[in-house]
């Protein structure tokens, strides 16, 4: 049992997967000698050599496009995008090829490919380094989209993503890179993709979130509890495929739900979850499913990010609203 950070969980998970399977390779900008700007690939090049862990030139379409080629060959590439906002140049390769290759080959060729993306705000970064881009990918059929919020999930989910036969967009909530947890490595009993985690049981309101906002939601749930409100907190983890059953089971119990995410509210994945809950179990709802999310504006400069990011007060406000609807 060791206390590790989420970043270390990822690093150890990569190491584990690379040890298990010689076909796993890591590439991206600065992932080699430097170990990545967040050190997620730290020391991997020394351990596995330059043919397993290597720098790419500075070009993201190139990173994803060549990873697709490697996957066609039979490798299992793990590609790093340096930051969320620098994923966009790779959009065509992700949407037009990674997501579609299985379909366009009539199932003959699948792409076991992981695209790692440090994502989200809250770290005081400059522009383009704080984007919550999950909705672009959750709307893209053919991709799996997952995000861990704890060190042990980080380990087990990255290993799972690498072993998955399909392309996985792996979102790493960068403001949680440094959270710690006591973990016994390797974590081999991680839940399969498509399974949410109930982080806290409760019966009055279901709070639904993932990755970056989990901490805020935990604190909000705690504060609600101290006010006598019983909140059930769900960590979605796997956005696609979505574990709607866990969500519906909770809402059936509570009759109320609030979804929390950083991304801009309009067209965010919260709307999807809200719509799904309504479609699937309208009659259980005592109140509308509410969303607490970023405002409909570009992610603001660091000094103003606090007003953009959902915080405890905004979450509790929404909890109050659904309770007193």
């Amino acid at each position: 049992m060791a206390s590790i950070t989420l970043a270390q969980g990822l690093n150890e998970g990569l190491r584990y997967a690379m040890t298990q399977d010689p076909k796993v390779v890591c590439l991206g900008e600065d992932v080699g000698k430097l170990g990545g700007v967040f050190r997620i690939t730290d020391k991997l090049q020394t351990e596995f050599g330059e043919d397993r862990v290597f720098d790419s030139p500075l070009a993201e379409s190139g990173i994803v496009g060549t990873s697709i080629g490697m996957a066609i060959y039979g490798l299992r590439p793990v590609a790093e995008m340096q930051f969320d906002g620098f994923t966009y140049p790779a959009f065509e390769q992700i949407v037009s090829h990674a997501a579609k290759y299985r379909m366009r080959s009539l199932g003959r060729v699948s792409l076991p490919l992981v695209i790692r993306i440090p994502y989200g705000g809250g770290i005081g970064a400059v522009e383009h380094h704080s984007e919550s881009l999950e909705a672009y990918f959750t709307h893209t059929a053919g991709l799996k989209v997952v995000t861990p919020s704890t060190p042990s999930d980080a380990f087990s989910m990255i290993v799972q993503a690498i072993n998955d036969p399909d392309p996985v967009v792996f979102l790493e909530p960068k403001r949680r890179y440094w959270v710690r947890e006591d973990v016994e490595l390797p974590v081999t009993d991680g839940m399969p993709f498509g399974r949410a985690a109930v982080r806290r049981e409760g019966n009055e309101v279901t709070l639904i979130s993932w990755g970056p906002c989990m901490r805020t939601c935990e604190e909000a749930a705690e504060e609600a509890a101290s006010d006598g409100v019983s909140v059930e907190l769900i960590d979605v983890r796997s956005l696609v495929p979505l574990d709607i059953d866990t969500i519906l089971a909770s809402v059936k119990k509570t009759g109320r739900a609030v979804v929390v995410h950083e991304a801009q509210i309009t067209g965010g994945y919260g709307g999807e979850i809200a719509a799904r809950i309504m479609e699937d179990d309208f009659l259980s709802l005592h109140a509308p499913v509410l969303r607490v999310a970023g405002y409909d504006m570009p992610y603001p400069p660091a000094k103003l990010e606090d007003i953009f990011l959902p915080d405890i007060d905004r979450v509790l406000d929404a909890v109050d609203k659904v309770l007193n609807y």
């Binding site: 043919d51 030139p57 379409s61 496009g65 080629g69 390769q93 290759y101 379909m103 366009r104 495929p241």
Partner: protein, 366 residues
């Protein structure tokens, strides 16, 4: 001038072995190692491709294909380069490489099915034929080739990748990233540009100001070759050299095969809007098959019987394509649902169930 490079200094000469009239001119820098049987096979592949291609256009005109992108005029570029590959090498095509596909043993109907709209990437097994799926988003397949070659390099497999693309493709960011990655990683890849002078309506002069497309190789630290793309011998010779170097660890090359798309961009296109009859006629005079036929006849390699056997084989292929395509219905819908992920996720399963229920309801209605 010290420290200055000047595009005007780049020569626009081409490597050529056969003059348009079929006479052998040769190129001292390249040897030809082809046996008589090779020459006949090259001729045969060009003829078959042209006939199958014609059938694509015919089928589209008859409403059996949604659209078709003819290769007419580009047979030498395609067959010449493909002939230089070894069987284990991989091919990453765009959407016009019917001759290459057929050379690799792919049934041309599998290509036509794509244009009919029954399948997306093409109905062949990429691994069996070592021929990746057609790629419509321009230049994207070039990166796949580079990644594949990087994997071949990592795995020390001796396999070379070749990727086909057009003159227009050289403008896309992906062309650049592919060439640059290829150069830096020094992977076994050949970038094969069919410069057919147009990207739909846009002529090369509005596509790039480069003196030649092959000159672009300099920016990636690899050699660039400019070859007469209607001269199958020259194309073969250049391809062979670049493939051999790639296989020996010498890294990538860029080949510019100068040719012409004599048909429309696709059957939906109207080339009279942007090019002249004279231009077309000038290129018809440089026909790659006629030229090679003359050469082979002069060399005593081709006789009328063989020529006729190729034509007959072509006719048979056309008949087969037609049989496979005409009236072909859609594939079963379940294939769609099955091929999004390896395992159908819950949400999609529900959608499929819903789809099935609707289907039965409809059938009930009828």
């Amino acid at each position: 001038m010290r420290g200055v490079v000047d595009p005007a200094s780049i020569s626009t000469e081409m490597i050529q072995m056969l003059a348009p009239d079929g006479s052998f001119v040769g190129d001292g820098d390249f040897e030809i190692d082809l046996k008589e049987e090779d020459l006949r096979q090259i001729y045969r592949h060009m003829v078959l491709a042209r006939r199958a291609d014609q059938e694509g256009t015919n089928l589209q005109r008859q409403g059996e294909l949604g659209v078709y992108t003819p290769l007419l005029g580009q047979e030498a570029a395609q067959v010449g380069s493909a002939y230089a590959l070894s069987e284990r090498d991989w091919i990453f095509p765009s959407y016009r490489e019917l001759a290459v596909a057929m050379y690799r043993g792919i049934d041309p109907s599998s290509v036509m099915h794509l244009f009919r709209g029954t399948v997306h990437g093409g109905d062949w097994d990429a691994r069996e034929h070592r021929f990746a799926y057609y790629s419509v988003p321009i230049a994207t397949q070039m990166l796949h080739a580079v990644g594949f070659a990087r994997a071949a390099q990592i795995e020390k497999s001796n396999i070379v990748a070749i990727t086909y693309f057009g003159d227009g493709a050289t403008s896309e960011g992906d062309f650049h990233e592919a060439c640059n990655y290829g150069g830096v990683w020094k992977v076994p890849v050949v970038f094969f540009c069919q410069n057919n002078q147009y990207a739909i309506s846009v002529p090369l002069s509005k596509q790039t100001a480069a003196p030649t497309i092959s000159a672009k190789a300099l920016g990636y630290g690899m050699p660039g070759y400019r070859v007469d793309g209607n001269d199958v011998l020259a194309v073969y010779a250049v391809a062979r050299e670049t493939i051999r170097r790639a296989r020996e660890g010498g890294g990538p090359s860029l080949i510019e095969a100068v040719t012409f798309r004599r048909g429309p961009h696709s059957t939906a296109d109207d080339p009279t809007r942007y090019r002249t009859k004279e231009e077309l006629a000038a290129w018809e005079a440089k026909d790659p098959i006629a030229r090679f036929q003359t050469y082979c006849k002069n060399e005593g390699v081709l006789d009328d019987d063989f020529i006729k056997s190729c034509d007959d084989e072509g006719a048979q292929i056309a008949t087969n394509i037609r049989a496979s395509i005409v009236g072909a219905g859609p594939r079963p819908a379940i294939d769609l649902f099955n091929n999004v992920y390896e395992e159908m996720p819950e949400t999609l399963r529900r959608e499929y169930k819903q789809y099935e229920e609707e289907q039965s309801a409809r059938e009930g209605d009828e």
